[in-house]
């Protein structure tokens, strides 16, 4: 019984982690069909922001939850204005450009802070599930993931900005005829996606080694989850994270984390084979 409780908790944590690392990428891909290969490095920047701010004496919660999205969102806006906006509609070019940005960011951070692994200590302790100890910090991850998913849903569903986003995503030319500037909307979307990546980096900083190349550890899983989820940003990310997170954690528990990652990949390949457009490409198509 205790074991089942622990397992459920770990599965929930795994799903929440996937949601966090995927949503920023999903927003950018879903809205603009841009594959942001610098996504992992945006997360890395978020993690560094958390480490540096915490080192400078900033309250750990602010350093993890507030500063990373602000800093990385600003970096995203600058990159969109200087690089990405010239490449809309050219998928290969944007992939190359964002790959270049990713290498540049790794180089920059290595130069500034050295190729060493840093860390932040988790701000909360542990608790017991029966005979087992579990990290309270996992609860923070789960809560953050729920908050960003809900927030994203409310933003898209309830606000005028969300309405304009959805309309522009569908038909930018027609949105322009209603007085919307698609250019501005793309800029805001890219900034939002970058901010979400930054938040993910900040929140995950205490449980991962913070180094210049840490993004690589997340990027592939994030991509798989975006593709598996399909066009609906919130529902797709939520569902695909649930499926992959569940399989990954369960297999990791029975065997080893490496086999768990293998199982996740196999599940992703099967899913894409059966549903080439992702889950929401076939089901729940009208969801957000």
């Amino acid at each position: 019984m205790d074991l089942a409780g622990l397992l459920t908790f770990n599965v929930a944590t795994g799903i929440a982690t996937l949601v966090l690392i995927t949503l920023g990428l999903g927003v950018i891909y879903g809205m603009m069909r841009i594959i942001n290969l610098a996504h992992g490095e945006f997360m890395m920047l978020g993690a560094y922001t958390a480490v540096m701010a915490n080192g400078a004496g900033v309250n750990i919660w602010i350093a993890m939850l507030v500063l990373p999205p602000l800093v990385v969102g600003a970096v995203g806006l600058i990159l969109e204005r200087t690089v990405i906006r010239f490449l809309y509609g050219r998928m290969m070019d944007t992939m190359l450009a964002t790959w270049g940005i990713s290498l540049g960011l790794i180089g920059l951070i290595t130069t500034l802070y050295g190729n060493v692994v840093r860390g932040v200590s988790t701000p909360v302790g542990s608790f017991e599930i029966g005979r087992y100890g579990a990290s309270l910090y996992s609860l923070v991850i789960i809560a953050t993931a729920l908050a960003v998913l809900t927030g994203m849903f409310l933003l898209l569903r309830m606000t005028k900005f969300g309405l304009i986003l959805r309309a522009t995503m569908q038909n930018p030319r027609m949105a322009a005829a209603m007085g919307v500037s698609p250019d501005r909307i793309y800029m805001a979307t890219f900034g939002l996606g970058a901010a979400l990546a930054g938040l993910a980096g900040g929140v995950l900083a205490p449980i991962s080694g913070v180094s210049p190349s840490m993004g690589a550890a997340y990027i592939s899983r994030a991509f798989i989850t975006v593709l598996g989820g399909g066009p609906a940003i919130v529902t797709g990310t939520g569902l695909a994270s649930s499926v992959f997170g569940f399989i990954n954690e369960l297999v990791s528990f029975r065997t080893t984390p490496v086999i768990g990652d293998v199982a996740l990949l196999v599940a992703a390949i099967l899913l894409i084979r059966v549903l080439p457009q992702g889950i929401t490409g076939r089901y729940l198509r009208r969801s957000l």
Partner: protein, 259 residues
Amino acid sequence: MSPAMNAIEPLPLSSGPDAVPAAKPALLSVEGLHSGYGRIPILGGVSLTVGEGEFVGILGHNGMGKTTLLRTLMGYLPVTAGRIRLGGEDIARRSPTARARLGMGFVPQGREIFATLSVRENLRMGCLLSDRDEDETIADILTVFPRLKAYLDRPGGALSGGEQQLLALARCLCGNPRILLLDEPTEGIQPSIIEEIIETLQAIGRARGLTILLVEQNLTFIAGLSERVLILQKGVVTREIPPEIARDRAMIEEFVGME
């Protein structure tokens, strides 16, 4: 209609701020407009004017440049030469967004409503350009298009072609445009709705003093709405059908047949 116009002509009300004696000051004027796709020229010097409150129809067969003309006026295609003036302001280099904000309303060929957005959300998008209260504007437009009332929460893509056309019109009118550019609104639409569109446009035209530039190949529709009809051939306006003929479908047919 035109005797009535003549009757009010001398009143200072209709003469506008620059006090030009003309009955209908040009709202949209196009001079020597050239445009095309990439290096392929389609428009070879189109000139026309649309007066304030006027309904102008442009008749032409497929491939004569009708859609290209409207897309160039709206700013989706670059102007390679010539001028477009809206209310005196040169807008030939402005973006579609800027033109929409200056009062160009566009109902494109194929409607292009937002398919996964609900009918209400489509209308709300149309309201972005209006500074009036959103709910009021939508309530108003629904009195003009009562048929849409029943579908407010359905996705726009679930409506029939004709209903989508009504929605596209309603969406555009929510923004209270100064001029409405209409691209073949009858294409692929059942005749009963064509009648409804004609009646609706005539009614709001009278009520709001709407200005319309319409491109069409449906003679009934163009004759039912237009005060003047221009004929577009191979990218230029070749002739103008006088108003007394433009009102009568049979006479337009004869007129066009003379070519």
